[in-house]
């Protein structure tokens, strides 16, 4: 506990929020926790802490107002209790000494009390804004414990096969009981940061992105990603008044951009999604393989739709999982193997759906089809030159039957000419949603269908815009 007082004193002297956040952390070894736990008991804890803080350098200097010091005493008293619960649960995982008593649910509850004590400290406006790391670090552990408490509950329920006779039993809600509560607590923290009216340089708003990232993670885990939109709305409502994202450590920036991008991806706003995911990608630490893999999981389908380009081998090289996910599809798109593309999409369906990228990849079929039609066009060769020396012209009148043959290649069934015409008309009609779409649009294919003659007449200057022919 003395070490804690020293840290508190040192951090307060230097206004170092990170250092201060280490006095309310759960990231300690059992021995460190035990050292804190053993210093006092439930009866004298407040006195011990009060004396400890008062006797520390900063306490003696009188730099901290009495009110504030009292609030810190409350915080550390709750922290001490939370440490006890944490220690109990960690000890039981080694041997079952106090099995009946300790549980992650209790750890969660005690940590929630700690968070409440901190929020109280801020709302009574005695805690200064630089101490904000305490708040989001506590929030981080709260989320961790909520997940553990839910896991613990679900596993014990599995074991105890006793039927539950309670009415109104909603297993879905019960399963994530703690995490849902945690989302509410984090929301309180979010509001504590958001509603600070102090001038920006001295505002709790500096902690807002940390909290938002915690909320994003929580909402995604609860399968209610859409709730994140409310957060972003609240954030953009106060945009002019927020710290610039660039001023936040990169670890938080990248996380924020990632989730922002994924949210836009899920709303099918691929242009914005690509922008944010690309920023996340470029700023990501080069050794954070797992995170880079996650970014690419969404960036690759995004890029396929916005730019019609595929990931290079080199890009996917370090990620076997992504290779498995994307390489077969990419190959088929590039070669225009439409039927093989359908099969690959079907085969990976479960995985794609789980990753929330199925619908996006499905739209890649257009590009596979475009490439197939392009191939038919190229295979058609050149017209005989009308005059000698003239540069050869591609055969731009292609029978629909040829396209039909290309489309049914590889699969047993053959398509009606009507169906093929429909596909072709779509190709001619569809415009690629390029990043520059505002200034410049491109159709997938240029030309028209001459129905009565069963021909497609393609443009002589760029039948497949953007592909070099």
């Amino acid at each position: 506990m003395d070490a804690l007082f020293d840290d508190f004193s040192g951090a307060q002297k230097k206004c170092n929020g990170d250092l201060l956040s280490r006095t309310v952390t759960a990231g300690l070894t059992n021995d460190e926790l035990r050292a804190i736990w053993k210093t006092c008991n439930a009866y004298d804890v407040k006195d011990v802490i009060k004396h400890g803080l008062q006797a520390s350098d900063i306490g003696r200097s009188g730099a901290i107002p009495k009110e504030e010091l009292k609030a810190w005493v409350d915080v550390y008293a709750v922290y001490w209790k939370a440490v006890g619960e944490l220690l109990a649960v960690r000890d039981t995982s080694n041997d079952n000494r106090r099995a009946s008593q300790a549980s992650w649910a209790k750890v969660y509850e005690s940590w929630k009390e700690l968070l409440s004590a901190l929020i109280k400290g801020y709302n009574s406006s005695s805690f200064e804004s630089w101490t904000i790391p305490c708040l989001y670090v506590t929030g981080k552990y709260l989320r961790e414990f909520a997940i553990k408490a839910d896991a613990e509950k679900n596993s014990t329920q599995d074991n105890a096969a006793e039927p539950n006779f309670q009415d109104d039993f909603d297993p879905e809600a019960q399963q994530n009981h703690h995490l849902e509560d945690c989302a509410r607590q984090l929301n309180r923290v979010f509001n504590t940061c958001l509603n600070d009216r102090a001038p920006l340089e001295n505002s709790r708003k500096w902690g807002i992105y940390h909290v938002i990232n915690l909320l994003f993670k929580t909402y995604f885990k609860l399968n209610s990603a859409s709730l994140s939109k409310n957060i972003l709305k609240a954030l953009s409502a106060g945009r002019g008044d927020m710290p610039p994202l660039e001023a936040i450590p990169k670890s938080q920036q990248v996380t924020f951009k990632y989730y922002e991008g994924v949210l836009q991806f899920l709303e099918e706003d691929y242009v914005q999604a690509e922008k944010h995911l690309t920023e996340a990608w470029r700023m990501c630490h080069k050794d954070a393989t797992k995170n880079k893999e996650l970014i690419l999981t969404y960036l690759v389908p995004c890029h396929l739709l916005t730019a019609h380009t595929l990931p290079s081998k080199k890009l996917l090289e370090p990620y076997p999982r992504l290779q498995k996910l994307f390489l077969p599809l990419s190959q088929h798109i590039r070669k225009g193997e439409l039927h093989a593309f359908d099969l690959a999409l079907q085969e990976g369906e479960d995985e794609f759906v789980k990753r929330r990228i199925y619908l996006t990849l499905e739209r890649g079929r257009d590009i596979a089809l475009r490439n197939l039609l392009r191939k038919v066009f190229i295979t058609g060769g050149f017209e005989e030159p009308k005059s000698e020396g003239a540069s050869p012209l591609r055969r731009t009148r292609v029978p629909i039957a040829e396209f039909a043959a290309g489309i049914s290649l590889g699969c047993q069934e053959t398509l009606d000419n009507d169906e093929v015409e429909c596909l072709l008309a779509n190709m001619i009609y569809k415009v690629m949603t390029h990043l520059l779409t505002v200034f410049w649009t491109q159709n997938l294919m240029k030309g028209y269908i001459a129905r009565e003659r069963g021909m497609v007449v393609l443009s002589k200057s760029g039948a497949f815009p953007g592909t070099g022919i």
Binding site: D7, C15, F220, A247, S251, H285, P399
Partner: protein, 131 residues
């Protein structure tokens, strides 16, 4: 076509890549759900001194705090981890992002199986029309 030489070169590694792919298939998809979350960055970085301003004229509030030795372990996944620009992914791709993406149609090699099949199909169409 200019790209045909390049695409040929690509072919070889493509075939080679296929094999290890199957080997790595072993990773069970079930594990995916567990770690489908953006991680804290578990890398070495520096801790910035965050927006530390002590309004009431403290002598030296701005100085970075030396991290106490015993808690250095905590640093490995700190929430305020920051890193230099040269440690970002962008810095490693100094050749530009061009090589990351390939055109979806960038394969004008007409000698692969699929193209051969296609040519035969088209010949059939032609033949049936002449009849």
């Amino acid at each position: 076509m200019a790209s045909s030489a390049a695409t040929k070169d690509e072919k070889a590694p493509a075939a080679a890549d296929q094999k290890p792919e199957i080997v790595t298939d072993q990773k069970p998809a079930a594990a995916l759900e567990e770690d489908d979350e953006f991680e804290d960055f578990p890398v070495d970085g520096t801790l910035p001194t965050l927006y530390t301003t002590r309004p009431e004229g403290d002598a030296s509030p701005q100085h970075p705090t030396p991290i106490p030795q015993q808690s250095a372990a905590l640093l490995t996944s700190d929430d305020n981890l920051d890193w230099a620009a040269e440690d970002t992914e962008a810095a490693t791709e100094s050749q530009g992002t061009q090589h990351l993406w390939e055109e979806s149609w960038d394969d004008d090699d007409t000698s692969d199986d699929f193209s051969t099949q296609l040519r035969e199909e088209l010949k059939k169409v032609e033949a049936s029309k002449k009849r």
